[in-house]
């Protein structure tokens, strides 16, 4: 296998030129995404550059507290982004979501890093940080879809919730259809993507490993493992987020609390 072809800084800068094509399309159709695209690309470039510097330092130190601190920062940013994007109350729902993210990460990291890869040192930065990051990044995207669907459902179809609450046996009967809908909406795309993996999509981690000089066999084993880790992590995180959010979503009379829903979503009158 030939060694990886490096990208020079000049060539990397040149690669930004190709963004002109989608931007031209946005301009032509008046999509209104030009500004947010430019901001997103600028942020991505700055963030990844900063992370590269920070990761070099973290990998060199390989200190468990430093590694945990970095993962904690990823969790906090992920939770903040999830709630902001879902237009939900940050003050009320941040704690349940942070607990969900930490719990799902502990389960998945302990199983895959400890039991499957059998790392002698589970906080090994080379494994702990990228694998946790992939799980958290994916979990954030799926949580945004899932929580949005759950709270939009409860907010827009409150009559159904109260119909099932009063006529059904308990609150579990009443919230179950909303939970089912949220999980389906959030995880269906991932299930579809998983089923065509290798056929019409070559995942980033595998591509990265092959580009990095690893054998396709090792790359694929890691990829299968990371797919299982991501699917499990996202599912646990979403279900726990809903279960724990429910503690603050309903009052003692099982009424939907309007404080959980952000300003755009109204309470029942």
């Amino acid at each position: 296998m030939s060694p990886i072809q490096d990208i020079s800084w000049v060539n990397l800068l040149l690669s930004f030129v190709i963004i002109a094509i989608p931007l031209a399309g946005f301009w032509y159709y008046r999509v209104g995404l030009t500004k947010s695209t430019l901001i997103a690309i600028a942020r991505m470039t700055l963030q990844l550059s900063a992370v590269a510097i920070y990761l070099e330092f973290i990998f060199e130190m390989n200190n468990p507290f430093l590694n945990l601190g970095w993962v904690l920062i990823m969790i906090l940013v992920g939770v903040y982004t999830t709630l902001k994007r879902s237009n939900l109350n940050i003050k009320t729902l941040a704690v349940p979501l942070i607990i969900s993210a930490i719990t799902s990460l502990i389960i998945v990291d302990a199983f895959f890093l400890g039991a499957i890869i059998q790392l002698p040192y589970i906080f090994e930065s080379q494994y702990f940080i990228p694998i946790s990051g992939m799980i958290l990044g994916n979990a954030m995207n799926h949580n945004i879809v899932g929580l949005n669907a759950y709270f939009e459902g409860l907010s827009n179809n409150q009559n159904l919730y109260y119909f099932l609450l009063i006529n059904g046996k308990n609150k579990k009967t009443a919230i179950n259809p909303f939970i089912v809908q949220a999980i389906r909406k959030a995880l269906n795309p991932m299930i579809a993507n998983t089923s065509v993996m290798g056929l019409i999509s070559l995942p980033g981690m595998m591509t990265g490993q092959i580009l990095g000089g690893n054998s396709p066999s090792t790359a694929i084993r890691y990829q299968i493992m990371i797919m299982l880790a991501i699917f499990t992590g996202c599912s646990i995180n979403l279900m726990l987020s809903i279960i724990l959010s429910n503690k603050v979503t309903f009052d003692k009379m099982d009424r939907i609390s309007t404080t959980v829903l952000a300003k755009s979503k109204k309470g029942l009158r």
Partner: protein, 197 residues
């Protein structure tokens, strides 16, 4: 003993007072209509009676029991409630019956009285007309056999004949206490008590 006792109920939305110091009682088996122009708080009052919306002041008692967080579950287990404008996630009436653990034999009896065939339970909600859906949902919640029935505009999608059938059905259930909102003079005429807002 009254089935329902409402004392000094007040509800305000923003700066708009919906009703103030509203008091009334309902005896067991009585059929009650809440009437008033749109926006006067008929549905809000029904929701307060179901414990869905909190009043700003006042008390509600079912029997001798004060309706609050400690008693809500047991009081609600005696209620059947049909709001308007539900978007069902369940695909058809059968699935809804299973979710609510309703006795389908009782549902069939009500469906028959309301001129509907039991096979309507197999039809997707999206294929039902407004009147069919309303009659089917009413039949399903009557199948729960609960003593207190809270209905929001139960005849809003019904024609004169279906309204007549529904009245005949509910009025043959002497043990059921009915509290309904209404814009329908025929429905109100049959009620034992009309509360005007």
């Amino acid at each position: 003993m009254s089935e329902l006792e409402v004392e000094n109920l007040t509800k305000v939305f923003g700066e708009k007072q919906i009703f103030s110091s509203l008091s009334f009682s309902v005896d067991k088996g009585q059929k009650v209509a809440i009437k008033g122009e749109s926006g006067r708080g008929k549905t809000t009052l029904l929701r307060i009676l179901a414990g869905i919306v909190a009043p700003d002041m006042g008390e509600i008692r079912y029997g001798y029991t004060l309706f609050n967080a400690h008693t809500a579950k047991s009081i609600r287990s005696k209620m059947a409630y049909l709001p308007q404008g539900i978007e069902f996630i369940a695909k058809d009436g059968n699935e809804l019956c299973e979710m609510l653990f309703v006795d389908k034999a009782k549902v069939s009896k009500s469906l028959d009285a309301l001129l509907l065939n039991t096979s309507i339970l197999e039809q997707p909600f999206s294929e039902l007309s407004g009147g069919e859906k309303q009659r089917m949902l009413t039949s399903i919640i009557l199948g729960l056999s609960r003593p207190i029935l809270l209905l929001d505009e139960p005849t809003s999608a019904l024609d004169a004949n279906s309204t007549k059938r529904l009245i005949e059905l509910i009025w043959t259930l002497p043990d059921i206490t009915l509290i309904s909102t209404s814009h329908n003079p025929i429905w109100e005429k049959h009620c034992d008590k009309v509360i005007s807002l």
